[in-house]
């Protein structure tokens, strides 16, 4: 070091050291960039606060930078932007849909169909815009199953479904769907960028929503609204946000994606079945009112019908009842009031009510008595008047009555007495009534009729036959008295018999002798001789041998019918 250098060192040593240090920092890129890095954020912030010059300066280089980066690694940018782009696109779609709904609203507003007016009323009741309600009504759907499938290997990451859904092996379904997807992509999309997004199968629609690492496949029953796809996209984005890396690396270990199915369950909440519920709630009150009205109408209708039936039944019973002449039937609810005439022998009002199936308390009557000429009442009255026994039948004939059957002689005589007194005012034929007394008398007569009494010799009865004849005479006398009481008479014939020994003349005399001998005994026993006739039975052929069985007499009794005077109705 020379003197000058030493002097400089003494005078400017500290400054030179600082200058060297600065020179070194400026010349070394590493230190310079470190310095700039320290102040750059603050510098940018200040510059941005001062004005838009910095933005203008950076716009072009940053733009070029981004463009170049996206060209070089588009997938990385797409993956990074996926969670951002979804909501942005969805927002745009919702905006467009709202406009579309409004357009429908305006279209339907101008239509006055019954359904349009009904929907308008329902929308007003529910407090929702009419356009939304129209969409809701026309789109009914439900997500039945949701599959989350790895795009890398087609393995099933998660699967949820409603209980009622019929499920095949979900792993196989997932793999097969991936195979079909690959087949479609390789076969019909030259640049392999195509995707299978929708498939229709009868009542079901299959929607696939694609994410960077997984695709969400939903099996939907019915017609889903387009907006559902953005809802499903949101769910898939959320799944990627939480499980994206795990899904990307998924190789079949189900434990590594635990919890993903909870996210998938959100898909099953998408359904639209509300309109039916609303409909039923609205009609409930009206339905109850209608039911009450119908029940009331039914009650009154049935009651009215029953009343009419009851009235008819009562009228029919009254018409069929002899001796009752009703001029007016009044009905007040279930109560009946009758006005008219009633023969005392006619059925009572209680009996009539019972025959019509009505409580007797329901019927009151204001009836005046009269004498009915209804044949049945006339018979009833006659029977009552004559105190007719049940063995007697009375029937109408022309303008009179025929009495038949059996009765005691006393009853018959009584009736004859009344007939003679003209108590009936109509012809009555009594001839057909048999007297029970006469019948008995006839039986008694038959019992002791045609009895033989034998003779010991020509005109002397055997002693025991004589005793028997006396007893017989006593019985005959008793019967004769009974016949007299009935205005009838018993004729007694005593026939004398002989055998064929002897001449006819001799035998005739002998027979007469025998009958006279017997008649004497009868007369002596108190029998009127006028009632007795004589006869003989004598053989007329050749002389024969004596026959003791023909030495007899036979007492024959004949009961004559009583003779009554005939009665005529006084004019």
């Amino acid at each position: 070091m020379n003197d000058l250098e030493e002097l400089k060192s003494l005078l400017f040593g500290a400054e030179k050291q600082a200058l060297d240090s600065i020179t070194e920092r400026v010349q070394k890129p590493e230190t310079r960039s470190a310095d700039v890095a320290d102040i750059l954020p603050e510098a940018i912030r200040r510059s941005h606060q001062q004005g838009r010059e910095l933005v203008a300066s950076l716009r072009e280089p940053v733009g070029e930078c981004l463009t170049e980066s996206i060209h070089e690694a588009p997938q990385a940018y797409a993956d990074a932007l996926y969670p951002v782009m979804g909501p942005a696109i969805r927002k745009s779609i919702i905006h467009a849909l709202r406009g579309f709904a409004q357009q429908i609203n305006e279209t339907v507003e101008q239509s006055f169909t019954v359904r349009g007016l009904k929907w308008r009323f329902e929308a007003w009741r529910a407090g929702v815009p009419f356009g939304d309600y129209v969409l809701q009504q026309t789109l009914l759907y439900r997500i039945e199953q949701a599959y989350l499938i790895s795009r890398e290997n087609g393995l099933l990451v998660g699967h949820v479904h409603h209980d009622a859904s019929r499920i095949k092996d979900s792993d196989a379904v997932s793999a097969m769907f991936t195979a079909i997807q690959d087949f479609v992509k390789e076969s019909f999309s030259p640049d392999r960028s195509g995707r299978l997004e929708t498939a229709d199968m009868g009542d079901f629609t299959l929607w696939a929503v694609h994410g960077p690492h997984a695709l969400l496949v939903c099996v939907i029953r019915g017609v889903p609204p387009r907006s559902l796809r953005s809802d499903l996209s949101a769910i898939l984005e959320r799944i990627h946000f939480r499980y994206g890396e795990k899904i990307r690396l998924y190789s079949g270990d189900t434990a590594s994606v635990k919890g993903v199915e909870d996210e998938l369950l959100e898909c099953l909440k998408f359904q639209d079945v509300q309109p039916k519920k609303k409909k039923s709630r609205i009609s409930a009150a009206l339905l109850i009112t209608l039911l009450v009205l119908a029940a009331a109408l039914l009650y009154f209708g049935v009651n009215s019908w029953l009343g009419v039936q009851q009235h008819r039944a009562l009228s029919a019973v009254i018409d069929a009842t002899p001796g009752l002449y009703i001029v007016d039937i009044k009905r007040d609810g279930g109560e009946y009031t009758l006005h008219g005439l009633r023969d005392p022998l006619a059925a009572t009002i209680d009996d009539i009510a019972a025959s019509a199936g009505i409580e007797s308390t329901q019927v009151t009557a204001s009836l005046r008595p009269y004498q009915s000429l209804d044949p049945e009442i006339v018979i009833r009255r006659t029977r009552q008047l004559l105190d007719a026994p049940s063995t007697v039948t009375i029937v109408p004939a022309d303008d009179g009555l025929i009495i038949s059957g059996m009765a005691t002689q006393a009853w018959i005589d009584n009736v004859r007495g009344k007939l003679a007194a003209g108590s009936f005012g109509m012809p009555v034929i009594l001839d057909d009534v048999a007297s029970t007394d006469m019948t008995q008398l006839q039986a008694n007569v038959s019992e002791i009729n045609n009895v033989n009494f034998f003779f010991e010799n020509e005109s002397t009865l055997f002693s025991e036959d004589e005793v028997k004849l006396r007893e017989h005479a006593s019985s005959i006398r008793s019967l004769v008295r009974s016949a007299e009481r009935l205005d009838a008479a018993i004729a007694i014939d005593v026939a004398g018999y002989t055998d064929s020994a002897g001449s006819v003349e001799f035998n005739t005399n002998l027979a007469n002798l025998r009958s006279e001998a017997a008649i004497r005994i009868l007369v002596n026993a108190g029998i009127d001789d006028e009632l007795i006739s004589r006869s003989h039975v004598v053989p007329t052929g050749e002389f024969g041998t004596p026959d003791p069985t023909l030495r007899k007499i036979v007492v024959q009794l004949t009961l004559g019918a009583p003779e009554y005077p005939t009665f005529t109705v006084p004019e």
Binding site: A175, M176, A179, F183
Partner: protein, 171 residues
């Protein structure tokens, strides 16, 4: 209980017995017509690896071919392993199976596999010499002489593949 799912493919030339091989022990879910329409049919099979680990194989039965087209290659994507099947009564199908193996490895790298020389029940028309079989056994890791008809060695081969896949996944 741990449940693992793995996609495997079954590859081989026409009529070597691929479908017959899997049909003996899998749960059929789809009609065979898929093989002739879209060229693949999926079946599943569960294997109990250990007391606590169950492996569900999702088996892609790919329609027979001696050379993959783009569609078939796409079906192999994401597979954890594959079953190569050749017909012992047609020696050329062995070469076809090896060719398919090369194609698969070229596209998707090395994967666990088993090689099934099928139709061992047809010994009278057997077309693969013992020497050729020895060569195969030396060059390939797992060679099984099987019969889809009797089921001989099929279960063993599939189980071996399942264990290989599980080992690989656990590494």
């Amino acid at each position: 209980m741990t449940l693992l799912n793995s996609k495997i493919c079954i590859l081989g030339d026409f009529a070597v017995g691929k479908t017959s091989t899997v049909e003996r022990f899998v749960n059929n879910h789809f009609s065979d017509k898929y093989l002739t329409t879209i060229g693949v049919k999926v079946d599943t099979k569960e294997i109990q690896l250990t007391e606590y680990v169950k492996l569900k194989l999702i088996i892609w039965d790919i329609a027979g071919t001696d050379r993959f087209g783009p569609v078939e290659l796409a079906y192999l994507r994401g597979a954890s392993g594959y079953i190569l099947v050749a017909d012992g009564t047609r020696a050329k199908t062995v070469a076809a199976a090896l060719d398919l193996k090369s194609q698969a490895e070229e596209r998707y790298g090395e994967l666990p596999y088993v090689f099934l020389l099928n139709k061992s029940d047809l010994q009278h028309s057997w077309d693969v010499s013992d020497q050729r079989l020895d060569e195969l056994s030396q060059s390939l890791t797992n060679v099984f002489v099987t019969s889809a008809k009797s089921g001989d060695k099929v279960d063993e081969a599939i189980s071996t593949l399942g264990e290989m896949i599980a080992d690989r996944e656990s590494q």
